[in-house]
Amino acid sequence: MSDLTPEDQGVLDDLTAATAARRDVDPRHRDAARAAFTWLTVDAELMELTYDSLDEPSAVRGSVGAQPRALAFTSRTGSLEVEVDGDRVRGHVVPARAVTVVMRNAAGEMAEADSDEDGMFVLMGTLPGPVQFQVRGDVSGTTSWVRL
């Protein structure tokens, strides 16, 4: 085979890496990525993730697993704080209101709970895969997707 210039050989090597990177993609990951598009909404009031206990340095969190996973989401109208406690998700909304909180995953599975007048609620059970929370009531919004 005729020799290639170093530049051409470099391009061929990169091309080989590029096609390999595309072939190495897990088809399940492609399917999940494509399916995510069904969650495109333009009108939802987004409650953004503003705190995740996993982002704390390990030294601050103490021994791994000692602390429950805690998350906070905030929108212009209020915030939602949740804590994963085994197979329950406890949380509260601020300002304190009686609202309905729905937790759902991308497969459309849901769990739902009403908060008391202090804004406290408990969702029984967790769901597989990333989830988002929807708050319906005087405080309302939909959170970012998170892996619990």
Binding site: R22, R23, P57
Partner: protein, 211 residues
């Protein structure tokens, strides 16, 4: 500017690798186009996959991280003002989710004294920069391929097969005599280096190179 949106079905990678620019695809996806979204997925999924490999996130954790990244992108899509920043955004979210998985699994996370600054300015983190540059180069090469005549594109793709094909097999599949494969390969690579997509890549970056 004419956008080549159709990929011949015989191309060996699934729908994707068009030279429609990312900004166009984002705009079309926001108007509800699933095909445009699928092309964004083809373009950036290898970046997500390579970062997950780099941070050794596998199995069910990788499924969850991958799904989280794409759901976040759907949620974030309407706020993308600069399509150029999209690969950096995807890489940052992927890396962050990989770090969270590692924390959760009790694995040590590489300590970075400037960790906070790193999340603020992801494009300055060395590990991300490396993956981003590779991904950008790969995308440009795949886009460049689409500017080549079909037979040359086919030849280059056959030459990148793993495991490698014999020249007899390559000759049979693309109809080029064995003795012409070498010279055709050289011409095809030179042509690839002259494509718009490839020249865009090698032209100097407006804000400097590696930082």
């Amino acid at each position: 500017m004419v956008k080549e949106r159709c990929v011949p079905s015989e191309d060996p990678w699934p729908a994707g690798g068009t030279d429609a620019d990312t900004a166009t695809l984002v705009g079309e996806a926001l108007r509800g186009s699933q095909p445009a979204w699928d092309q964004l997925v083809e373009r950036f999924l290898p970046l997500v996959a390579s970062l997950m490999r780099r941070y050794r996130v596998t199995g069910a954790d990788a499924d969850d991280v991958n799904q989280t990244v794409w759901l976040r992108l759907v949620e974030h899509l309407h706020r993308i003002d600069d399509a150029q920043a999209l690969p950096g955004w995807i890489a940052t979210v992927t890396r962050h989710e990989c770090f969270r998985v590692q924390q959760q699994r009790g694995r040590s996370v590489p300590t970075d004294p400037q960790a906070t600054a790193t999340f603020d300015r992801p494009e300055r983190a060395a590990d991300l920069l490396e993956e981003l540059l590779a991904a950008e180069r790969h995308t440009a090469l795949m886009d460049g391929l689409l500017e080549l005549p079909a037979q040359r594109r086919e030849l280059l793709l056959l030459l990148t097969e793993d495991p490698p094909l014999t020249y007899a097999e390559i000759s049979r599949r693309c109809g080029i005599p064995v003795g012409s494969i070498g010279p055709t390969r050289a011409r095809a690579l030179q042509q690839l280096r002259r494509t718009r997509a490839f020249r865009r890549l090698t032209s100097p970056h407006p804000d400097g190179s590696h930082r």
